[in-house]
């Protein structure tokens, strides 16, 4: 083998780009190739787009080398673990994937990652919170990378009216891992000729993101402490409710304040006092374990249960002034720009009956004739234009039914459910406060509308139905937690079926005694 002349570089600079199909990873790879060639280097890029182009995880790979007249380099078409100088991840978990694949090593690799998340279907489809742990990726990146550069490149690009490839290209320039000046990077962007100004703005934002430390999260907003609106008597009553917070353990007070805010907004001051009564009933059994978890969870879930999402509530939320402001901000509408807003409602017979006074609602439910009539009337979904008075007014009027809420069929049902649930928790609170906490947390299973709500309620019933069989076991609380997590794992409840089946087999063996871990 010929000795390599000293002026010859002995290896290429290797760059891997991990992106999702449609993110523009190919554009970034093309820019790097163009940049290198523009600077007189030789470049080779490869990719495996194929069907992965359709939103799947995709990898682009570029090798660049300073050329030598009369000799052509042999470059790799694939990244080799341990032999990659730069990894660019266009999404945070794609950075994780790069680390998993061994492409990021502490002696070589500069890892440039956008911190934003595009959740995989598996993460976002779970009825509960299926999102992966970004902290795990960050921790691994700090261990695996020689240098770890992270910023929300997606947000930077969007703010500049461009796409993520531009901000990432800027970060690559600022990282100074490629031997080319900033001007050469920018010349490449200009030469591409598409959306140049916006791309350059995003490029600059990406470039500067390296130097600027991430902004700290905004300080928590001041706690609500003042009653507003309503009559004077109501304000006074709400102020009294606020004063009652001191009766509760201090760690539970912030959550109680949120709850109070919710139920007062939902109904009235009397409702706020009812809320505190219900929480107090459980909090009385709180022995302070797990940082007063029982009180905190009761404060959270009783508020959600009391502020159930009925037709009145939805109509109220949809007709608030702040809501229109939020929608217009989200779609970035100009101040005077007309925006049509369409709502999608599909109330069924059940919802209609639930919105009637309890007696009438039950009568309709009993009458086949009336049920059939109303059922047909509401067979189709309603599209309501809330930017028009014709659509807004009916909703506005429905929202005004709030005062009658306590007399409606839905309320009766919700109260019964609430009472049964809290009674179950209270029954076990004295003997096993941890179990009571877990029972309280099961309310998380009840959510959604229509069929989803029905399925959630049924899961809630099945989990809480197991409580009395579990009571007395040292691991009762753990079991309820396990069952709840199983219920949140999928929609049709298969995981929960499995967990309940396991429980049934356990019940045939003696329960463990003593402390659990």
């Amino acid at each position: 083998m010929d000795a390599t002349p000293p002026e010859l570089p002995d290896r290429s600079l290797n760059i891997a780009i991990l992106a999702m199909g449609g993110q523009g990873g190919g554009v970034l790879a093309d820019w790097i190739v163009d940049l290198a060639e523009r600077e007189g280097w030789q470049a080779q890029s490869t990719s495996v787009p194929g069907v992965a182009q359709r939103t799947g995880a995709t990898i682009y790979y570029v090798e660049i080398i300073r050329p030598h007249p009369g000799r052509s380099p042999v470059l790799s078409l694939l990244p080799v673990p341990g032999d990659v100088d730069v990894v660019i991840a266009a999404e945070f978990f794609e950075a994780g994937r790069a680390i998993q694949r061994g492409l990021v090593t502490p002696d070589r690799t500069t890892l440039i990652a956008s911190t934003h998340r595009a959740y995989a279907v598996l993460e976002k489809a779970k009825p509960g919170d299926g999102r992966g742990d970004s902290g795990a990726v960050a921790a691994a990146a700090r261990v695996a990378a020689r240098r770890f550069i992270a910023a929300d490149m997606q947000a930077l690009a969007e703010r500049a009216g461009s796409v993520i490839s531009a901000s990432l290209f800027g970060a690559l320039a600022a990282a100074e891992v490629l031997p080319f000046p900033r001007a050469a990077f920018e010349a490449t962007v200009r030469a591409a000729g598409v959306g140049v100004e916006a791309s350059l703005r995003a490029f600059a934002a990406g470039f500067e993101s390296i130097a600027t430390p991430p902004t700290p999260p905004p300080a928590a907003a001041a706690l609500a402490a003042q009653a507003r609106g309503g009559s004077e008597a109501e304000r006074a009553a709400l102020a009294r409710a606020l004063a009652r917070l001191d009766e509760f353990p201090a760690p539970a007070q912030p959550m109680l304040r949120h709850g109070l805010q919710r139920v007062a907004d939902y109904q009235d001051a009397a409702y706020a006092h009812e809320y505190l009564d219900r929480v107090a009933h459980l909090a009385a059994h709180d022995d302070g374990a797990d940082g007063f978890a029982l009180s905190i969870e009761a404060a959270r879930h009783v508020a959600v249960a009391m502020a159930y999402d009925d037709v009145i509530r939805v109509a109220d939320l949809k007709t608030r002034g702040a809501r229109f402001t939020r929608v217009r901000a989200e779609i970035a509408a100009q101040p005077d720009q007309p925006v049509g807003i369409t709502e999608f409602f599909h109330p069924r017979l059940e919802e209609v009956c639930a919105s009637l006074p309890a007696g009438l609602g039950r009568a309709v439910q009993r009458s086949a004739l009336l049920s059939g009539l109303i059922g047909r009337l509401f067979a189709r979904g309603r599209h309501v234009r809330t930017d028009r008075l014709t659509g807004f007014l009916p909703l506005y009027l429905i929202a005004g039914l709030k005062r009658r809420r306590r007399t409606l069929l839905r309320h009766a049902g919700e109260q019964a459910h609430l009472d049964a649930w809290l009674a179950l928790a209270a029954r076990h609170a004295a003997a096993d406060p941890r179990l009571a906490t877990e029972i309280v947390k099961c309310r998380r299973l009840v959510k959604g509308y229509g069929d989803t709500h029905a399925r959630g309620s049924s899961k809630f019933d099945r989990v809480t139905g197991a409580v009395d069989r579990l009571a007395g076991r040292a691991d009762a609380a753990d079991w309820v937690r396990r069952l709840r997590e199983a219920a949140l794992a999928d929609e049709d409840g298969r995981t929960l079926d499995g967990a309940l089946a396991t429980l049934a087999t356990l019940e045939s063996v003696p329960a463990p005694t003593g402390e659990t871990v």
Partner: protein, 716 residues
Amino acid sequence: MAERSFAREVQDLRLGAGQEFRGEGILAVTKALLQSGVGYVAGYQGAPISHLMDVLSDAQEILGDLGVHFETSASEAAAASTLAASVVYPIRGAVTWKSTAGTNVACDALSNLASGGVTGGALIVIGEDYGEGSSIMQERTHAFAMKSQIWLLDPRPNLPSIVRAVEDAFELSEASHTPVMLELRIRACHVHGSFVCKDNRRPPFPLSQALENPRRDVSRIVLPPSSYVHEQEKVKERWPAAVEFIRARGMNETFAGDVEEIGIILQGGMYNGVMRALSLFGLADVWGATRIPLHVLNVTYPLVDADLAAFCRDKRAVLMVEEGQPDFLEQALHAILRKAGVNTTVCGKDVLPMGGEYTAQVLVEGIRRFLEAQAPALLHAARTPPGAAAVMREPAVQALMKAVPPRPPSFCTGCPERPIFSALSLVQRELGEHHVAGDIGCHLFSINPPFDIGATTMGYGLGASSAAAFQVKAKKRALAVMGDGGFWHNGLATGIANAVFNKHDGAVLIVDNHYSAATGGQDIPSSRARNPSRSTQHPIENAVRGVGATWVRHIDRTYSVGRLRDMLRDALTTKAEGPKIIVASSECMLNRQRRERPAFAAAVKRGERRVKPRFGVDEDVCTGDHACIRLSGCPSLSVKDSGDPLKEDPVAAIDNSCVGCGNCGEVADAAVLCPSFWRADIVHNPGRWERMVARLHGRLIAALARRRDAKRLALV
């Protein structure tokens, strides 16, 4: 029109002698074809060779100038049959497809072609879809080459080598009267590089000349007794002629090295990977020098026995680097060496894996094991290749293994196929799960979450026929899915006509997105676009009725989830006899956006009134149950923190990538989901009257909202 425009690349096809071509490997092939005086090109699109088809599609003018006929074939079988033009006429022809899927389809024609042999050079450009990024079954084209006796080239994956292989292939084909396959792996197709061009050549024997002076040679037709003669010609004439040409042309390459007691024999396509592996040991450099001698098989079939024996003769051991299974080359090498009386040890699949892609990492490990066994001193003195083993053992990295979920490909934002599977999910909720036969195409993404629909996929256009066994009386019917691409590829005959003829009782859902979408949005007969060089706008419904189907429903807007659900329910429950066929049509959103987005922006710039729809979610109404996501899976419909301490689970959120396809509203409606969704219709350049009305409504609404806000009891 294809997904990507190749207007710029087309200009590269005009480059003349001495000019530098820069671009993708597969586009270099296109230029090489024109430099070789090709007379006609045909093929069927599919990664990784779609770009070859797309660029020629966009290059009608240049092809016309040169007198080259280009055809987008209905299938690979049609493409392979096109090569019949080279059987008796001295016309060079090239066809292309992805392999082995396409080769399977083409086999009938290929076998006949290879039997009779060719006069003009016949080239088959194969996109070998093997390893990472592949979308098909993992098989080798090698077996097809051997069984039909078609020569197989596997050039080193750089542009000059690929271009040379194309040029040599035509000559080899003509010298041996045998069709030649040029195998290019996925990354070689997409590799960016450069080569120095030659002038394009007009085909010396134009197709028109053949038509006007037809020739026939009955000895080239596959019918006894000629077919027996062909078999003898293959082994006695064509094979030796090929070997002679390969040797004379020096198509295989030997790279000398100073460590002469061992050597490596490799497929050309493996060259860069092997060189990188060797250089990581310090046994080669990035400029192509190697210490271990290499024998590079740019032709992997037929092998040149004498060259292989000569390379091995004075070596203690050689390593055969052959990707994929079975180990055809390694077995052949054993036989060759034994016959030649050469005692060299042959390593191969004993140190390298039998199946799967030979990544550089795999090659590093294989070479290490080879050296350890055959040249331990060399290994001892060599550099330790870098690796990630140490960092992979770190607890923080280990913890990551479970944290990162897979991200399989899926339906794009706004894809019109998503509502089809939303509707099907709703029907299955009512009627229970059904046996659903899948097909090839974007619609096969239904097998992944959130839909989890589809039991099998038997091949392109074979959805309906793969449900053929299930046409018995039962409480549920089988449902077969087929795309428009597959329908025209062969599904009309093998699926629909077959179902009509055999009086099938099941349902067939034909997904019509107006393109062969998964392969890059090429036009097909039912495409709605006007295509100057093709005849389009032939409705699938007409074709289906034409072969005798009577229960046919057509829905021209797949986003109507409720209607589609009712139609599917009907198809699965009706008493009507014969196959129940639903054609669900809506344009591929990728293509639609590509066309409409610039037009929209231009119209807005001109001051014309335009309305842009977008969907959103009211975060305070959303309860975080994610039922909508389970019925959609749209990339733009995701989750975010609720921002509400009372709500633990993340709420649904729609990001800026939303194209306002309408699926969210329809699903909310049809599935009786929650009322959190809203659609905003943003009006650009509104008229004065419209602006006034909007302002009036806005003010009144704001006043009413303010009134209620003031009265509402709140804690602030």
